[in-house]
Assembly symmetry: C2
Homo-oligomer: 409 residues x 2
Amino acid sequence: MALIIQKYGGTSVGTIEKLRAVARRVIKCYQQGNQMVVVLSAMAGQTDDLIRLAHKITDNPDLRELDVLMSTGEQVSVALLAMAIKSMGHDARSLLGSQVAIYTDQLYGKARIHEIETDRMTRELEQGTILAVAGFQGLNDNGDITTLGRGGSDTTAVALAASLKADVCEIFTDVDGVYTTDPNVCPKARKLAIISYDEMLEMASLGAKVLEIRSVEFAKKYNVPIHVRSTFTNERGTMVVAETKNMEKVLVSGVTYSKNEARVTIRKVPDRPGISFKIFRPIFESGIVVDMIVQNTSEKGITDLTFTVPKSDYRKTIGLVSEVASKIGAKEVLGDENIAKVSVIGVGMRSHAGVAQNMFEVLGKENINISLISTSEIKISCVIEEKYTELAVRVLHKAFGLDYEQRQD
Amino acid sequence: MALIIQKYGGTSVGTIEKLRAVARRVIKCYQQGNQMVVVLSAMAGQTDDLIRLAHKITDNPDLRELDVLMSTGEQVSVALLAMAIKSMGHDARSLLGSQVAIYTDQLYGKARIHEIETDRMTRELEQGTILAVAGFQGLNDNGDITTLGRGGSDTTAVALAASLKADVCEIFTDVDGVYTTDPNVCPKARKLAIISYDEMLEMASLGAKVLEIRSVEFAKKYNVPIHVRSTFTNERGTMVVAETKNMEKVLVSGVTYSKNEARVTIRKVPDRPGISFKIFRPIFESGIVVDMIVQNTSEKGITDLTFTVPKSDYRKTIGLVSEVASKIGAKEVLGDENIAKVSVIGVGMRSHAGVAQNMFEVLGKENINISLISTSEIKISCVIEEKYTELAVRVLHKAFGLDYEQRQD
């Protein structure tokens, strides 16, 4: 007998018919002899409706009360699922974050889980009850409701799996797993059978919106195996697990891209200590997230500084930087909104050299110019002209042996 | 400084604009130097929407889960009100039944309040916080959500008033007080300035849908003064309070009617011990609520038995009774759906004879035949033909000095 945590997202419980299908799926797994804890999001659209309601009251709703409001979404889902399962003849019970209890810090709207009480869940599971636990919500030390932020139900599921020492945490979603790249861009993308936590973290932060990033960090910390799979089929999806020796044999596991950035360059900056601080302070203070930063080696005390920011913050950034540039005596500020970032990701890079070189060669062959490069232990990112994004993804996907036909595993 | 409990019903918070108006009203009262606890129902229509949702899942939803579902309605209201008040510059906080905490028994869907913790409320009130408490919901010993049944928010308000020893419990609703009778039937109906708990109980159970009956029982038990008034005006409404000597001077405080009953008569029943039990058992077992029961004195061991049931249960009752009638050797079963019950109510009856006689005389003068009579200490009810209902209400209203022009107070 295994203990299985299943999490179903908003689209998986978006209608009564879909909710009933989830109930049947849960029961099937229960009948195979497993203990079941089901974590649910709010029904699709519900969370947005509630936020809209709050914003009709005030532009700036109180965060504590916003959490009280938002948490009703998941409360509705778990009550309906428990009803559905009971009506199908099995014992089920809904539990809210406050009933479990899932203790968090005080940060309304983006609380972090501190501790999970398992007594009640364990007792009910031993009695054969299927538990429907409201995702996304917890309880702080004041006894007030908190929420974990967007995608928080993934984190709830993984945290429950960790504290209950579950055998697996299954995340059901509207895609059937994690792909080597975006299938809309590259038709030869294929589903990965297995991926490491670190690779998944790079994939998630680079735009593969399958798993909420905090849930992967949580899973990594407590070594919880995650199975990402489709609500609408019975096929196996992708296992997200700790790194194994075997994984290193694969150089590159995935290719990702982002068109959401813009590039800013400050030319001929006098290279004095503290100059970077002066340039970036107004940007950071405006809450703008800077991604890649590259500074060339200084020549005669003069350097060029380039970085990327979200496209939506581009005009504001240019304004802020231009002001600073004139103050510090830099020559000019250049910028480009028509860029994209393509990245290759793989734990195999840790032990194999030459991936970067290979990447540059492949892009060069297609006459795609690289204007910025940044690397981490398991990732290489290049900024290119936006119009080449799809081409770059496809040629890299093929070059690193990820195309469907070339599948080796 | 007074401590005031205000309760606003679903229509009073039915839209964002109305909710804002409630916030302004609460703040005004707070600025007059009062401590404020505001009890809210779900926004109008919400509760019905949630029930519909549950019934899409199953015809017979699990009662525990139904309460988890239903309680989200009030949770939304209190979060939004607290947001509104905060956005207007005052400190406010929402509290759910489980946060107060309001402890109830185990009866999902119609739980009764056992005990209310006042520590947190008192602490927050002393800090000048306006509290928005979710009506209708509580917590049982398992830590599970319960609801108090329809109209339960009135009970929450009165129970909070009792446990916090509030100065007054104001029930805001879409009518502006308790009337001597239905103004739609009798244009000369007038608003009562004051009414006793017992009279209100009779009025409520006879169809004047202003206050939930359990809340009045609660108020009577703990001597909580209730002020029933309109959300949409500033006029004083009706005070519901303990009986005073002065009240006895008024013979009749109100005239009520109900068209929701049907009459069943069993003719020539052999009058043996246990015969009533035989007749009523199948009716009770079907969950049909019998209202008036009249049995004439037996003549030669034969009697007639008459009673009333809700109109919606009439056909079923006739079927059940006919079966029994043939078994016990009764002569025949007669019935009439076209009946109405008119009642006069007043604590003055306790000390004054002649009210019944006066009532019969007034109805007799209009050639209205009385087919059933039942009386209590402070109420006389007569069953008449349905078509005379409005006429009967009007002539009784006039005869007992309730018409607007004749107002003495």
